[in-house]
């Protein structure tokens, strides 16, 4: 029996029709995956379902448990057991697990909280999600994976019947993701119906019973578990075949552009802790080099410490560009030396969201659009316009604020900014995170073009297929060290994991011996 039936849902915003006749049917007790490109309408649909957009503000009807559902707000939907866990977790970092778990739903009599009871119950819920931490631990001290589990425990505490998970593994590393997926299957066995929104096709095929694909605000298809294939999902998502997920390229490596030797960096806060230990690597002109590793392996830290010592405290090591020692001690000098770094977190570190596209593009090279300190706005606009065309940034104009762009287009703005700084070596940190399949391909194409122009490209990524598909060589990192390098021919997902596991085992062994 269908627990949830959404029929002909439509929702319009000024100027945009976000949803247009979406049909979705979720059976009781199943895990139903929803996928679609960014902007396909997934989040809007879930906001309709969770009452963020109240009844009357959208078209169509929702049947829940066979009854017509007319929600007035989130409290309304939660009272019926519909609970959504957003991509950005809604926990208060300074409050304890127990306080977070019952936030807005406190274990209290006449406004006075019964702490022993709250702690006791918290322990019960934590056990259910497989988290063994004292309930008094502040949430901020836990990793993202554990915080995710607390969100689920919180949902369970509210008597969840329909649990909606919006990209739950986006910020998790591999083993935490696996644990989360296992937990989802366990909850399913206990009868909790779940909706999973995800970009990651492998996890969808692992846990989902059925999958609905949205495109441009409309339902394209709903498939059964047996029919699910990656190719079909991708085809439905983008509306065309994606035979080649990575663009073709003939590598033509030239001279050594960037050489890093014996790079050692201390942790910024914990005195004496080494964050990057004796890292050495090089990048040739026209080469795309990958850095693989689990989350926390030190890849971002390595890149940021190279880029003007933006991370940690420098201890030892040299950077050479075309064989000459280069000064990269400040970001300004690093840019001048020819290094650019595209950050992993584009919204927090890469863009000024409230400013228009053109001001973001010129930011790292204002001298390039100025004469004696005075901006040449005509030139600035022309530069932005050129990049808009070149990288196919989809926007009505370069005066558009970047906050209004989709993830893929935002990433292209960041790339434009760094291209305009004209780097010899471009370090890209998770360049395709949170970007839909179509835009990913375009980003890959841009990377290939950069290499073809004779620049060196360093790509940091947690998605191994992407590294394997794009890179000429891959360095593998773990716990702040570069473990080794693999050529394109040698590199496989298994080999990379084996390297990491072996190193981790050795480190653990050392720890016990000491």
């Amino acid at each position: 029996m269908a627990l949830l039936e959404m029929r002909g849902i439509g929702k319009a915003f000024p100027g945009v029709r976000a949803l247009d006749r979406v049909d979705l049917s979720v059976e009781a007790g199943e895990i139903h995956a929803i996928c679609g490109e960014n902007g396909a309408g997934k989040s809007t649909l879930m906001k309709v379902l969770s009452g963020v957009y109240p009844a009357g503000s959208y078209e169509g009807e929702i049947l829940y448990d066979g009854e017509l559902l007319a929600l007035r707000g989130i409290r309304d939907s939660e009272a019926r057991g519909i609970i959504i866990i957003h991509q950005e977790l809604a926990l208060v970092p300074l409050l304890s697990i127990a306080e977070n778990l019952f936030l807005g739903n406190e274990v209290a009599a006449r406004g006075v909280i019964d702490w022993p009871q709250a702690f006791h119950r918290t322990e019960g819920w934590l056990r259910k999600v497989g988290l063994f931490e004292p309930p008094s631990t502040p949430v901020g001290k836990l990793g993202v994976g554990k915080q995710q589990l607390i969100e689920i425990a919180k949902a369970l505490a509210k008597d969840v019947r329909l649990l909606i998970l919006d990209e739950p593994t986006a910020a998790l590393q591999e083993n935490d993701s696996q644990k989360l997926l296992d937990l989802m299957l366990e909850l399913k066995a206990q009868g909790v119906t779940q909706i999973l929104i995800s970009h990651k096709l492998n996890e969808i095929s692992r846990v989902a019973d059925r999958i609905t694909v949205l495109r441009d605000g409309a339902t394209v298809s709903t498939m059964d578990r047996r029919e699910i294939t990656e190719d079909r999902i991708i085809r439905d998502m983008v509306g065309r075949d994606m035979a080649h997920r990575y663009p073709e390229r003939v590598p033509a490596p030239g001279e050594r552009l960037l050489e890093v030797e014996g790079w050692t960096v201390l942790h910024p806060e914990e005195a004496g802790r080494v964050a990057i230990r004796d890292a050495s690597f090089h990048v040739r002109a026209g080469e795309i080099v990958g850095i693989a590793g689990l989350m926390g392996a030190g890849r971002t830290e390595l890149a940021m410490s190279l880029f003007g010592r933006s991370y940690g405290r420098w201890q030892a090591g040299v950077v050479k560009l075309r064989g000459q020692a280069a000064d990269v001690s400040t970001v300004e000098k690093a840019i001048a030396a020819g290094i650019s770094y595209v950050t992993e977190d584009r919204k927090a570190l890469g863009l000024i969201l409230e400013e228009p596209i053109l001001k973001n593009i010129s930011l790292a090279n204002l001298a390039g659009v100025a004469l004696r300190g005075v901006l040449d706005k005509r030139r600035e606009a022309k530069v932005a316009e050129d990049y808009r065309r070149q990288l196919a940034i989809r926007t009505p104009g370069v005066q558009q604020k970047v906050v209004n762009l989709s993830g893929g287009n935002q990433q292209k703005v960041v790339l434009s900014k760094w291209l305009f700084a004209d780097p010899q070596v471009l370090i890209l940190d998770e360049p395709t995170r949170g970007i839909d399949v179509g835009a990913k391909f375009e980003i890959y194409q841009i990377m290939n073009d950069l290499a073809a122009q004779g620049r060196g490209v360093v790509m940091i990524s947690s998605e191994m297929p992407e590294l394997l598909g794009m890179c000429d060589r891959i360095y593998v990192m773990n716990e702040g060290r570069i473990l080794g390098e693999l050529s394109r021919a040698e590199a496989t997902q298994e080999r990379i994991m084996a390297m990491i596991m072996k190193a981790a085992g050795r480190a653990a062994g050392e720890g016990e011996a000491a």
């Binding site: 003007g308 840019i335 570190l349 000024i352 100025a370 706005k377 005066q399």
Partner: protein, 393 residues
């Protein structure tokens, strides 16, 4: 073809900028009508009032110019009132007790103001002490320093040269006398510049692919602004000419408008306020820029301090009380964002004028200081609510 959007739609998109001007006009109209309806009718826009408007509010505009930069960079400066009092006292002491010549006094006082700004900016920029705390401390310290410097006395009166800083008028080089010839010439040049800049900006907008304002609206506004400037200029010319303060103000406003919108450093300050981390990772030295914003603020506070001291013709321990709040209010009424990264010089000037006109109009109407405070507070609140509401739409 780009003319597609109607006037209404365009106004909707630029509600804030135009709304401020409309509010200014409405407030002026309100007081003009109210005063004309009094038992003994008073002309609100008479030359004396216009003259006094600039004399009495010049310091607020000057402080607000610096405050805009500080607020855009993501900070705040609560100390400017005390700093203005202290620097004013310094200038009075140098003039009266030391008998230093008046140009030297101005330079030294500006240097003292800059040094005070540097002392506060140092902690904010390089030690990351919240600016609220540092400048709250500065507010107390320099209030105390003013009292210590003056020893509970007033210093004054001043020689003519120093007084002319606030109460002087530009000389009439044309020799016409009344109306003041040079004033008329300058005002005419100003009006020509307004039209020229307007058309140039419009041409550039079109070139950059920004949808231009509907022609009628553009012309309407240009003419209204030019008429207002012309009217103010004519009134002043038929009085005693342009006050020196207004000349200083005009130069500063043009300079800071250019600085914020057309220079690399100006742009970088906005970037730091918009997203400091992103700015830093783009090679921008945010700490140095924040430091400079405070130095600049200190110098402008010194200038404001001198102007106020010269106007009162004495340095007093209580001078400058509440200036910081007037300046901050002008910046926010003018549309700057509370979190930094946005705000325009034009908005700040309009914001300061709205406050000044309300002060003056209510005083002439005989509204008590109690009500004046309440009304000004509500106007500030309304302006910011209007902003937030607009953004959330």
């Amino acid at each position: 073809m780009a003319q597609g959007k109607g006037i209404g739609a365009h106004l909707g998109g630029h509600l804030r900028e135009n709304g401020m001007l409309v509010a200014l006009v409405a407030i002026v109209a309100f007081f003009t009508v109210m005063l004309a309806l009094q038992p003994q009718p008073v002309s609100f826009l008479q030359p004396l009032n216009i003259n006094n408007l600039f004399l009495q509010n010049g310091h607020v505009i000057i402080l607000a110019l610096g405050m805009l930069l500080v607020i855009v960079s993501g900070h705040i400066d609560l100390s400017v009132g005390s700093v203005a009092a202290f620097t004013g006292a310094c200038s009075a002491w140098m003039t009266v007790s030391l008998g230093l010549p008046f140009p030297l006094v101005i330079l030294l006082t500006l240097a003292i103001g800059g040094a005070i700004g540097a002392a506060q900016g140092y902690w904010v920029a390089y030690w990351r002490i919240p600016s609220f705390i540092v400048t709250l401390a500065g507010m107390m310290v320099f209030r105390g320093a003013t009292m210590w410097m003056l020893g509970g006395q007033n210093i004054g009166p001043f020689p003519k040269g120093f007084q002319s800083l606030s109460s002087g008028f530009i000389p009439d080089l044309t020799g016409i006398g009344r109306p003041h010839g040079l004033t008329l010439l300058l005002v005419a040049a100003g009006i020509a510049a307004i039209f020229w800049l307007g058309f140039r900006g419009r041409a550039r907008d079109r070139e950059f692919g920004i949808e231009p304002e509907p022609m009628a609206l553009f012309f309407g506004r240009q003419i209204a602004v030019a008429a207002a400037v012309g009217f103010v200029g004519w009134q002043l010319a038929s009085f005693r000419g342009l006050p020196n303060v207004l000349v200083v103000l005009a130069v500063l406003v043009v300079f800071y408008a250019f600085f914020t919108e057309n220079t690399v450093i100006g742009r970088r300050i906005y970037a730091v306020g918009g997203n400091e981390k992103a700015a830093k990772l783009s090679g921008i030295r945010s700490d140095r820029l924040v430091f400079l914003c405070f130095v600049n603020m200190g110098m402008l506070a010194a200038l404001a301090g001198m102007i106020v001291t010269a106007r009162l013709n004495s340095a007093t321990p209580k001078a400058g009380t509440g200036f910081e709040l007037d300046a901050i209010a002008a910046v926010f009424i003018g549309g700057a964002s509370m979190t930094g990264g946005s705000g325009r010089i034009v908005g700040v000037v309009v914001g300061a004028l709205i406050m000044g006109i309300m002060n003056m109009g209510m005083s002439i109407l005989g509204v008590g200081i109690d009500y004046q405070q309440m009304i000004k507070g509500l106007v500030l609140l309304a302006a910011v609510i209007f902003d937030v509401y607009n953004k959330s739409k």
